[in-house]
Each structure stands twice: as C-alpha cells, then as structure tokens.
Amino acid sequence: MLVNQNSIPVIPKISFTVQQFLVAIIADGIKMPENFENSQQHLKAYCENESMNYIVLVSNLRLFFGLVADYNQTKDNVLYHFLMLQAANCLLDEQAFALLPIVPPEEICAHDFDLFSFSTSANHYIIVGGHLIGL
C-alpha cells in the first residue's frame, strides 16, 4: 500500500448490525447515489442508538462517495489508498471495505513500498510527512 497502514484511523467500536447497515447503504449509494438521501432517516436512528455523531458521519459519507466517483474515473492507486482512509472515517474496517463494490487498481504496487526508503525529484504522488496529518 502507498502509505503506512498506521495512518488508517482507529475506528470507534460500533455494533455488527450498524456496520452491516453502513455497508449496505454505502454499497447501494455507490451504485445508485440518489438512494443515499433516502437512507438517512434510518442512519440517523442508528446514530442516536449508538451515540454516534450523525452530522459528522453523513459529511464523511458524502466525501467518501465523492472519492469513489473520482476513483472510478481514474483508477488511481493513490486515490484508492485515500478511499480506504476515508472508509475508516465512515466507521468501516478493512473487512467491511472489502465488501463494497469497488474494484482495486490493477497493480497495488509492491514497488510503492520502495518510496519509503529514498527518493528523488521524480514525482512520487505522495506527501513527505503525510503521517503527521494522518495521511
């Protein structure tokens, strides 16, 4: 993966039911974006039950859908990494993320690990010190 896995934020503990619900509405929203608006009433109820911040979660979900749309156009490795990061902000762990209808980029570059060791002025599409801001 492009950036150290430590950059994936710690996901607050949520019930299996909520995670399943999130996977379902996100998978549905990826295929049919207009459906997400209809899911929000249920989402709000789940958030209230589990003391989750509904406003923050919906904002993060909207950003996630935007990133998915950008990724689907580019199939860019870097964007795929940030999709995983943003999925964590939407309370999805790695297993839940794998259930979403998102095709990984063709090469999830083993060679990208090399970028940690040394570099040149050639473009490397990642940030020096990205880990300082959780990227």
């Binding site: 919906v58 935007g66 060791s117 002025s121 990642i126 020096v128 010190g129």
Partner: protein
C-alpha cells in the same frame, strides 16, 4: 529565552504558467498549504516575505492574502529583471532570482512545504541547510554530456559530479559570498539555455539542486539536512506536498480530505491568527471551529 528569528521567503513566479498563455491559479489544497506554510513559519521560526510578479500580485489581491506575509510583498525583483531565462525550461528560476535579491542569512521556503516545529537549534550552527539529499537518479540528474547547455558553455573542472544533490524545497544560507557564487553559477547555466529537455526536469534540477551541492563542495562547506530520508515515519518536522500535488489536481474530493486532515492538525496552533480563522470560516464552511478544535460536518 527569546528564540532566534529567521527571515524566510516564499516565491510565486507565474511566468512558467502565463508565458504559455495560461492564467495562474492554485487549487484549494495548494492555497491552504501555502497559508499554513507561512503561518507555521511565523509561529515558530520568524518572519516571511513574498517575492512575486504582477500576475502573482493580482492573484494575492484577488484572494485577499496580503496579511499572510508579515515581512511584506516584493514585486520589483521578479517583475523588473530582464534575465534571458526560458520559464518553461527553468520553471523554478524565480526562486533563485528572489534568493539573489534576498540578504543572507535567509530561508528559501517552497509554498508547498510546512515546517511544523521550531528549527533554530538546527540552523544556528549551520552555514547551509537544505530539506534532504537526493539520490543521483540518472534519468533526472543527467550526466554532463547529456545535459542541454547554452551555446559555448563548459562545465568547470571543479564541479564534483559525485556529490548528492540537495532538495531545495527548503534552503537556509548564512554565507553571502557562497550565495552569490551559487546564484552566479546557476545563472550562467540558465541564461539562453532554451532547449526543452526531453524529460522536462533535468536542466532545472541541475541549476537549482545539483548546483547548490556542487558549489558547497567547491567552497568546502558542509550541507546539513532537515531530513535524511524524506519518507521516513520518523520525520516529525516537515510536510511537503511535492508530487502529491498531481494527485490533488485529479480530485477535488481528495483536496477536501487533505484539507480536513491538515486543518485538524494545525487549527489549535494557528487559530490565534485572525487571518487564519477568517480564512477557514470563509473557505471551509463545512468545518466548525469549537474550542480551538475542528469539527467536520457543520452544514448539512
């Protein structure tokens, strides 16, 4: 005890963009990074000035950024020089022209680089400090026989082609005599060197990054580095967008994610700059500042 204050400068040289008929612009992430770069420098390390040209000044004006550089804005140096430098080939030459006009000791700071902490302890014993060493990648740092040169130009015998180039996104120079020598050598290479390199970068990185290391070697001056390995997770000092700007340009949503992460990190440190608070409230209405913390998701 009062910490030493270092004078830094940013450069916005628009000629590489405008000379090809385009309008100079920055995306939201680039602009936010430049703002945080200037303010973090002011908070921890000293004052900062902007060198720009007329188009750059118009950009600053249009975006109400005048307050950002506490040491003012200079347009004379970049607007009024008539150096025969091809901006498409030497797209970062504006930095070197600005450096020439800046009295040492000074820090040349790229607008996409943020120094997160005080670094006086790293600079006080140093004559030259740069961001980090660069590997001698042969496709980037071409051998002297492959580099495109101005007509009649020869490389002096004292150039040491074995020294590692310096990443110059951050440069501190204390010695005026060294600075003048470095700049004169760079200009000698850049002037009337108009043929575009096939790989787009070799002449610029030679004139700026390799030349600095070669000149320091010639002077017998050690070059210190803020970082030894740029992508090491032990780096607690610097954020540098570098090639990530290309990824940001592809996705407005990635820009939002980047802004969210960066703002969450620096909001508590910069909120006392009224300019910054105003900027965030104006440009990031989805972010709510509460008790110097940032909450994403204000407006739904």
């Amino acid at each position: 005890m009062q910490q030493t204050s270092y004078k830094a400068f940013h450069t916005l040289w628009t000629k590489p963009v405008t000379s090809s008929g385009n309008r100079f612009e920055m995306n939201d992430a680039e602009m936010l990074t430049m703002i945080v770069s200037a303010l973090m420098w002011r908070k921890y390390n000293g004052s900062i000035k902007l060198y720009t040209d007329k188009e750059g000044y118009d950009f600053v004006s249009k975006n109400n950024l005048f307050e950002l550089w506490d040491n003012g804005i200079d347009t004379d140096i970049l607007e009024n020089n008539c150096y025969p430098i091809e901006p498409q080939v030497f797209w970062a030459a504006g930095k070197l022209i600005a450096l020439e006009g800046c009295q040492t000791p000074c820090v040349m700071l790229d607008t996409d680089l943020i120094v997160m902490k005080p670094i006086a302890n790293l600079l006080e014993e140093s004559v030259i400090t740069v961001l980090h060493p660069e590997a001698l990648e042969p496709n980037v740092y071409l051998s002297p026989d492959l580099l495109k040169k101005p007509t009649g130009f020869t490389f002096p015998d004292y150039y040491n082609w074995g020294v590692l180039p310096a990443n110059t996104a951050f440069v501190y120079i204390r010695d005026e005599k060294f600075k003048r020598f470095y700049i004169e050598e760079s200009k000698r290479f850049m002037f009337r060197n108009n043929e575009m390199p096939a790989e787009m970068v070799s002449q610029m990185v030679f004139a700026e990054q390799r030349m600095l290391a070669m000149c320091a070697d010639h002077f017998g001056l050690p070059v210190n580095h803020l970082l030894i390995e740029p992508f090491s997770l032990s780096n607690e000092l610097v954020i540098h967008l570098w090639g990530f700007k290309e990824s940001l340009r592809k996705s407005n949503n990635l820009q939002t994610l980047f802004a969210k992460q960066l703002l969450a990190k620096v909001i508590g440190e910069l909120i006392n700059f009224p300019f910054f608070k105003r900027y965030v409230e104006t440009h990031y209405p989805d972010f709510l500042i509460t008790d110097n913390r940032l909450v994403y998701g204000k407006l739904l």
